[in-house]
């Protein structure tokens, strides 16, 4: 009996239905939801349940003229979480949403964008929990950008992600994203020459911390120290600086 209960418990599915409708109830198999309109929702749910093969959500049914998706899970926690995320995404203010709820709001908005569509969420007992139309998303600015000049040797080049390129400059702790053209030039200067880089930093408004950096432009610094380079200037050039005294220099600076 005890084992039977356990098996029954394990096989119990928790179902959530997402029903999309428009005013005319015109959604049908000929004019249903596009995959592009649904993939965002599926992605967020996949992220939410940790993509666990045993307890993650499965798409268990599509019914009601192709507009009602039923998602099922054996995990009650996942079920409760999805209901909560769906509810908050549809009903709370943008500032009160968690990251996953923001993503879910964005995802459900995609199919809701057209023809005054609405979404009704139905729980395991078949109760309609809420219905929402398209939700206005107020753009919240979380970062501002600022420019910074960074000078130093390139100490690291490359990225964990093959599709992206970034560098690191000695003395600057943040990774700097570079484009393909910059990457191909900078490769030759890795641990070899100093560069002077103009970097756009995105800074989190709340924390003041740099969240990402991008290389705007750069100059390869001439080899040699300052004295060597100044001594390399021509006599004609240096003749511009023939001053007799510090007072003459200060006067020239102030004129």
């Amino acid at each position: 009996m005890h084992i039977k209960n356990q098996i029954a418990e394990l096989s119990k599915n928790y179902n959530i239905k997402f029903r999309f409708e428009d005013k005319e109830n015109s959604l049908s198999k000929d004019d249903g939801l596009r995959l592009s309109e649904l993939k965002g929702i599926v992605n967020v749910i996949d992220e939410l349940d940790g993509n666990d093969y045993k307890s993650g959500f499965v798409l268990s049914e599509i019914s009601g003229n192709c507009y009602q998706l039923q998602l099922s899970t054996v995990n009650e926690v996942n079920y409760d979480t999805l209901l909560k995320v769906a509810h908050n995404s549809a009903n709370k203010n943008e500032s009160e949403l968690s990251d996953i709820e923001k993503k879910f709001r964005k995802a459900i908005n995609k199919p809701l964008n057209k023809n005054n569509r609405t979404l009704t969420v139905i729980n395991n007992k078949g109760q309609e929990l809420f219905t929402t139309p398209h939700i206005e998303i107020n753009k919240v600015f979380e970062t501002y950008s600022t420019k910074k000049t960074v000078t130093g040797l390139i100490t690291k080049i490359g990225d964990f992600d093959m599709s992206k390129s970034s560098i690191q400059i000695d003395g600057y702790k943040h990774q700097i994203r570079v484009n393909d053209a910059q990457d191909s030039v900078l490769k030759d200067h890795y641990r070899n020459s100093s560069i002077r880089a103009i970097v756009t930093q995105n800074v989190n408004i709340t924390t003041g911390k740099v969240t990402s950096c991008e290389l705007e432009s750069f100059t390869i610094i001439k080899k040699g120290n300052l004295i060597e380079n100044l001594k390399g200037l021509s006599k004609d050039f240096l003749s511009n600086f023939k001053f007799d005294s510090n007072d003459d220099i200060l006067k020239a600076l102030n004129d």
Partner: protein, 199 residues
């Protein structure tokens, strides 16, 4: 006393760089020769040298000859030099540390102490504003000292903003031998400043 034998980072004011260039152009002036000597020492110690773009503008504005600016910028962009922009964090430093000079009334009271030396107040005001920006750039980029020869505005501004200034025009405030500059004495410099400014 400020030890100058092992400086990791030093910011260079325009006046210091021009003195170095003057020495290289053959000037026999003691201040110019001293600036060159000190820069050679910093160079051999692999000191990182910071220069503000405002100083670059000031130095570049001297002659109006073709390729002058390009040659100078090329020379300044050396292995051991950081040329630094005036940006948001520098502006924040200016507001935080340069409060005494920001705002018309504050500036007026400071300017009034320069009547004899600076008859043109507008130029002086611009000059002070640039000095505040240069010092802010040094502070915002973690420099502890600035090297300069401008004892009239840069010296008091830098002191007021909390950045130690090595005024290379006050030669009697250095402890040095024929080949080495060992240290700088800020207290002597303060006396020298007061003497020169009749305070």
């Amino acid at each position: 006393m400020i030890d100058l034998t092992n400086v990791k980072r030093a910011f260079l004011d325009s006046s210091f760089i021009i003195n170095v260039l003057a020495a290289m152009a053959g000037s026999t002036d003691d201040t110019a020769k001293f600036c060159l000597k000190l820069l050679e020492q910093l160079n051999s110690n692999s000191t990182t040298l910071g220069v503000s773009v405002i100083s670059v503008t000031e130095i570049c504005s001297f002659p109006n000859k073709p390729n002058f600016v390009q040659s100078l910028i090329q020379a300044l962009m050396s292995d051991n030099v950081e040329i630094l922009q005036y940006d948001l964090q520098e502006a924040q430093a200016a507001r935080k540390y340069g409060n005494k000079y920001i705002g018309t009334n504050k500036l007026k009271s400071f300017i009034s102490s320069f009547n004899e030396n600076f008859p043109d107040h507008k130029i002086l005001r611009d000059h002070i504003s640039d000095d505040v920006k240069i010092v802010s750039t040094a502070i915002a980029n973690n420099y502890d000292i600035i090297l300069g020869t401008d004892h009239r505005t840069m010296y008091p501004i830098s002191k007021e903003m909390g950045l130690e200034i090595i005024c290379c025009h006050f030669l009697n405030c250095f402890n040095c031998s024929a080949s080495h500059v060992f240290s700088f004495e800020p207290l002597d410099a303060e006396k020298e400043y007061n003497k020169r400014m009749n305070k």
